[in-house]
């Protein structure tokens, strides 16, 4: 019996997925940054206005979103350094896969302590 095609998803492996994740995180960070500059500008309005808006950042649900934001930034930062090494280091293209593994490894290494520390601030009061 003939089998149906096993899907048409292009599987670009490390190179493609790192690019997708780099693009998605870059766009996400940009929109957060836009909001973050506007909320910080409230220090120029009054201490009360600033403190009131900053209080929303301390809400537990927003606290969890901050973990996502920091995770996106840390990935984009390490993978950005990988891109720089691919472009400028003579052996960069040859080791791009290993460097992607290093990006993921460093990401876990930094995020585990950060998440513990940040969530204990958010939920520990």
């Amino acid at each position: 019996m003939p089998k149906a095609p096993a899907g048409t998803l292009y599987r670009g492996r490390e190179g493609m997925w790192s690019w997708v994740a780099h693009r998605v995180t870059g766009i996400g960070i940009f929109f957060f940054l836009f909001a973050h500059i506007l909320d910080t500008a409230l220090v120029r309005v009054s201490p009360e206005a600033y403190n009131e808006v900053i209080a929303t950042y301390k809400n537990p649900i927003v606290g969890l979103m901050e973990v996502g934001l920091v995770g996106a930034i840390v990935f984009h930062a390490f993978n950005g350094l990988r891109i720089v090494l691919v472009d400028f280091w003579s052996k960069g293209p040859r080791y791009q896969k290993q460097m992607f593994a290093a990006v993921l490894g460093l990401w876990v290494l930094l995020m585990v302590p950060f998440v513990i520390r940040h969530l204990s601030h958010v939920f520990g009061g």
Binding site: F30, V43, R44, P47, E48, K58, V70, I73, A77, R117
Partner: protein
């Protein structure tokens, strides 16, 4: 009519061509490396040290901006991150917005938002008053004169 094929290795016509995209490409990499230091330092001081996010309020910001180091730090971070992100989004728009009109208007919107945020952020850093005269004293940093 005969057409002549240029001799091999004649230089390509460069009139009207610029290196803007090369400079943008270089800027993405240079600003990226600097942003690692600026953003990781920012996140560490604001979210990890001390009481982390619970310590953030007007007095915290005022205390930081009393130090010119943090003024320059935040100013650099503001400009580099906004220009880096804006150029990144310009690439994304070029990739996906295929109609000329749409591409143009998306970029007009992007550059407008960028200009407003950079100007606003810069003004805030330089015109900031850590001790506004009509504010409640308990909201202000400890170095403000007691009325």
């Amino acid at each position: 009519m005969t057409s002549t094929i240029p001799a091999p290795r004649t230089p390509r016509r460069l009139r009207g061509r610029t290196n803007t995209e090369l400079y943008a490409w270089m800027f993405m990499r240079a600003s990226g490396v600097l942003l690692v230091v600026l953003i990781f330092g920012h996140l560490f001081v604001n979210l990890v040290t001390g009481d982390g996010i619970n310590a953030l309020d007007f007095a915290f910001v005022a205390g930081k901006w009393a130090d010119p180091l943090w003024q320059v730090w935040d100013l650099l971070m503001l400009w580099l991150a906004m220009l880096h992100g804006t150029n990144g989004l310009r690439t994304v728009i070029n990739d996906y917005a295929e109609r000329d009109q749409l591409r143009l208007w998306l970029k007009v919107g992007l550059y407008t938002a960028t200009t407003i945020t950079i100007v606003l952020g810069t003004l805030v850093i330089f015109t900031f008053d850590p001790c506004p005269p009509d504010a409640a004293a308990e909201l202000l940093p400890s170095f403000c004169p007691v009325p």
